[in-house]
Symmetry: C2
Subunit: 225 residues, 2 copies
DNA sequence: GACCGCAGTCAACACCGTGTCGAGTCGAAT
DNA sequence: ATTCGACTCGACACGGTGTTGACTGCGGTC
């Protein structure tokens, strides 16, 4: 096969089948239509025909650009996870002001998910039925769990955080909490924390779970400054 | 209408349309088939025809008993939530041994969900597309959040737990964490805590988040025994 | 003991969304 | 001018859903 270059660089192209050329705008038109419709109604209520008509093409032509409706969503999700992963550098100078850095981390996630809530919500909905979405989401989560696990271990090593649960288990629990709480908050579904407060609530639980206090010690190893 | 009596007492009957009579076993046959098939493949891959044939009836006859495929799942979910709610009495003598009681609470939930994981997983999958499932689940969660919130406030009142986050927000965060962690563990999907450890991991986070320690003070107000 | 009504049953149908196939158009390169 | 491949769509086959209308058999009732 030709593994043609794609807008997203190295990725094995979730979108167009091959080649390059004019239809690039068609592809983005489909994506844009999907995002627009997603703001109006749930993913399940959007047919391929809707997407095609919205992009000014016929249904068979849609299949030239995407193998399925889900693939469109996957492409949209790729963008979001890319943006989320970009929040990675936060861990570097954690010890200088742990509280501020953890907050920054959570706040960035919140901003990313909140800024694309329609896409994220739609993904949560199809995660049940689509293995590919499930896989991609699991990957993203795994990266974040690993990063948080490493940060917790570092904080324990420098004496700022006490020992306790295996760092990985703790990281999984905290990330899971965030995911579910955000979902409820953005979906307005079931008991939810007010959107205004959600970052601070999550932060508090994180700090207490990791440090046993909401004011973790700053800089070098050991005690208070 | 006649609002005929149903097996589940007062509920506005999720199942059969009206009346009584012989077809009771057909109804349970459908339910049993659903549970059996759910153990084999995801809910979305089960058609109404599968359910009907499994119960020894034709597809139109299925509609005599249930208005839709989702209604079958809802009926199954009703049973599970009933069982989960039965774990309610745990809060009563909490102060006598907080750790043991919180553990009991979490363990009971774990047992209930684990014992019906196929149903619970299926519900999680259709929650995205079915408002009724979403509503019912939200109700259950809300009951639990309220109970936990009240317990936290009581522990704070007796001086066993320090002040901090609003009790409701904390209760939401902790319940959300549990839900998501269980989901991952039972579904084997994405980063998950080992099933053996999951109760203890969750318990640890709960205790630390509520008491700032994994060994909360026992009995009456104040200090160690 | 004919009749009614109703729980229970299903063949057949109408409908909708998906995915595919084959026949095309058109512009750039040869 | 022809060829090639990107691109397009009408028309179809398929599978699942939900409904209709006709049928069966049984308990009650005059």
């Amino acid at each position: 096969m030709t593994t043609a270059r794609t807008p997203t660089g190295a990725a094995p192209t979730r979108g167009r089948r091959a080649g390059r050329s004019t239809g690039d705008d068609r592809e983005t038109a489909i994506l844009a239509t999907a995002e627009r419709l997603l703001a109006q109604r749930p993913f399940a209520d959007i047919s391929i025909d809707d997407l095609a008509r919205g992009a000014g093409i016929s249904r068979p032509t849609f299949y030239f650009y995407f193998p399925s409706k889900d693939a469109v969503l996957l492409t949209l999700l790729d963008r979001v996870t890319e943006e989320a992963d970009a929040a990675g550098g936060v861990f570097e100078r954690l010890a200088e002001d742990p509280r501020a850095h953890w907050r920054e981390l959570i706040a960035r996630f919140h901003a990313t998910f909140g800024g694309h809530r329609d896409v994220v919500l739609a993904c949560a909905q199809v995660r049940g039925t689509n293995a590919e979405v499930r896989r991609l989401w699991a990957e993203v989560l795994e990266r974040w769990v690993r990063a948080v696990q490493a940060a917790i271990e570092a904080e324990r090593a420098r004496g700022a955080a006490p020992d306790g649960l295996p760092a990985r288990d703790l990281a999984i629990a905290l990330n899971s909490m965030n995911e579910r709480v955000w979902y409820a908050t953005f979906a307005g579904d079931g008991p939810a924390v007010a959107e205004r407060d959600v970052v601070d609530v999550l932060l508090d639980v994180w700090l207490i779970a990791i440090y046993r206090t909401t004011t973790p010690p700053v800089t070098a190893s050991g005690g208070t400054p």
